[in-house]
């Protein structure tokens, strides 16, 4: 039966139907993904660890004990970002300092999915401790973007995004501190959502910046995103900042946006959005109007201060959170230190990579005596201004939209020598985390043969409104999430620009968009602007 299943196109909603109808067994479905991983992982490098044996055994058990192990997610294979602790499965944060850490408990979000009999395929690559926008800061490996293996998948949840885009997972969990779910989803042509701060428990998510971090889904459709989200939300006694949602997450329906007012912040479009991204964005905005929505220009005047505030707040929190990695209780310890202080300093010097050290240094500096008010205190006040901008805007609009990333996937290595250039990747996503709002990215077409993400932002706890609008828009866009697997480095296509999608993998994906010209895949009713 698995012969007809194309992991590049299969969505969780359809996979569930096949399982329920007995068209495919959980073991067969899991094998589709394990086979796909075996076939392409040596080019993509999305996983830090593939738990093949566990996945095969567990899926067989689900088939055998079908009566006891049922439920809406039973048997659906999932990839998990390797910064969520999983009992019995090594968790590394893609860091040398945690290279062989064996957790003694499981993150709440993962635990909920295990309890729902989801089959975990493995743990995915990330920028070390989720600090980065390209997954190149991983201490383990560099992940390739399945649309062009010479470009980055985005980050920090780049492994999860690449795994889903490459058909190496049906769906995945990621975490988002400044765009780490939405930006890689955008660069890999899939759906990614950051829920409202507090909607999903952070227990067992190895902390980067506690007031900003949030776990969320990376999926091949908005429907799948809602399906996964509804199973991970809820208050958790182990996370004091988690809250019970005042509603159930609905599975989205409908294809119209009638009555919806959508705000377009002029400040976001002034942020150096590249022309191809801007073109897809404008076309998608026109599509919003065709579907009955009303688009209005709005102002979020403190947008340009979001990035500076974030790069104080996130490193400050990180410098405190990462103090626990000291070679005493777990992880790497430097050999042969004469005394305790030397052991701490050498362990951390050897164990952390360059970007993590930079952030610890910025954070420690900003919190040190004499600088606290000028940096951390001021950043917290700017955070208030960013929140007020959104609050004021949402008095007049239901949702706010923007490009998710100012550019499409960039070449591996092109920003690694310039930390600030890398930070700019998250200009459009960072303010959302500062304000704790929910937002998601959906693919809205191609530019230079690479996917462009469209970001929808809502007020706190507007998940259902966001998902419903994104679902309607997704249907009208008709984007097919099947990447081309070209390698512009191997083909000498130095500019990373699209030339041809004529690779063996492209041939298997019937709707793989012809890349030349950057036109989005044709869809009925699409704006032609």
């Amino acid at each position: 039966m698995s012969g007809v299943l194309d992991p590049l196109r299969l969505k969780a909603r359809a996979a569930k139907r096949l399982l329920v109808d007995g068209e495919v067994s959980a073991a067969e479905l899991t094998k589709v993904y394990l086979d796909r991983i075996a076939a392409v992982e040596d080019r993509v490098h999305a996983y830090v660890l593939v738990t093949s044996d566990n996945a095969a055994k567990y899926s067989t058990k689900i088939d055998r004990e079908m009566q006891a192990m049922r439920g809406p997610l039973a048997g659906l294979p999932l990839a998990v970002k390797d910064n969520m602790v999983t009992e019995g499965v090594t968790t590394t944060c893609a860091s040398r300092i945690l290279h062989s850490y064996a957790p003694v408990y499981t993150a709440t979000a993962v635990r909920k999915l295990w309890d729902a009999h989801v089959v975990m395929l493995g743990k995915t690559n990330l920028d070390e401790f989720a600090m980065g926008s390209s997954t190149e800061n991983s201490g383990v490996q560099v992940t390739g973007n399945p649309w062009d293996l010479a470009t980055v998948p985005g980050g920090s949840s780049g492994g999860s995004a690449a795994a889903v885009a490459a058909g190496e997972a049906l769906w995945a969990l990621g975490s988002d501190t400044g765009g780490s779910i939405r930006q890689p989803a955008a660069l890999c042509g899939i759906v990614g959502m950051k829920p409202t701060y507090g909607a999903v428990s952070r227990y067992g998510l190895i902390a980067f910046a506690s007031s900003l971090d949030q776990i969320g889904p990376l999926t091949r459709s908005v429907y799948d995103c809602a399906l996964l989200l509804r199973h991970i939300v809820g208050k958790d006694p182990n996370d004091a900042t988690s809250v019970e949602l005042p509603f159930e997450v609905e599975l989205p329906e409908g294809d119209r946006l009638d009555g919806l007012t959508v705000g377009i912040p002029g400040e976001y479009l002034a942020l150096g959005i590249e022309p191809g991204v801007r073109a897809r964005f404008d076309e998608t905005v026109a599509l919003v109007e065709e579907l009955g929505g009303r688009c209005v220009e709005i102002s979020l005047p403190h947008t340009e201060y979001g990035l500076p505030a974030y790069y104080i707040i996130a490193p400050a929190e990180a410098s405190a959170n990462l103090a626990r990695f000291d070679g005493v209780r777990y992880g790497h310890r430097a050999e042969g230190a004469e005394d305790l202080l030397e052991m701490y300093e050498r362990t951390r010097g050897e164990g952390f990579g360059a970007e993590v050290k930079r952030r610890i240094m910025i954070g420690t500096y900003a919190l040190s005596a004499g600088y606290y008010d000028a940096y951390y205190g001021r950043a917290q006040r700017v955070r208030t201004l960013v929140r007020r901008d959104f609050a004021r805007a949402f008095e007049g609009v239901d949702l706010i939209v923007s490009p998710t990333s100012p550019t499409v996937a960039f070449r591996a290595g092109s920003r690694t020598d310039d930390p600030l250039a890398m930070y700019m990747s998250d200009l459009c996503t960072i303010p959302v985390n500062l304000a704790g709002l929910p937002a998601l990215s959906i693919p809205c077409g191609l530019s230079d043969g690479l996917p462009v993400g469209f970001q929808l932002i809502g007020p706190a706890f507007s998940e259902n409104r966001l998902l419903k609008a994104a679902h309607a828009l997704e249907g009208a866009l008709g984007f097919e999430t099947a990447p081309t697997f070209r390698d512009s480095a191997a083909s000498g296509d130095a500019a990373g620009a699209a030339t041809s999608a004529a690779t063996p993998d492209a041939a298997t994906s019937v709707a793989a968009p012809a890349a030349a010209g950057g036109a989005p895949p044709a869809a009925p009713g699409e704006a032609s602007s």
């Binding site: 408990y105 507090g198 610890i360």
Partner: protein
Amino acid sequence: MITDDDVRYVARLARLRLGPGEAERMTGELAKILEHIDKMSELDTADVPPTAHVLDVVNVQRADKVRPSLTRDDALKNAPAVADDSFRVPRMG
């Protein structure tokens, strides 16, 4: 302007041993990042209250009851060195 000496001082606060040339390289990188961050000083924030946290929750409390916690074996399981059911560390300097 951040100096090499500042970087070495902060590295000591952060318990980070920097390798040869690492402090000097970091001084340049941090200077550039901090220059961008200084953009915040364009704003007058004197009357703006700080946001530490976006939720309206304060002092979340639970019943003061004993609950099961990590076993000693689990707590020590990942330790690089153990002695007498404790974490073993080098002597204090």
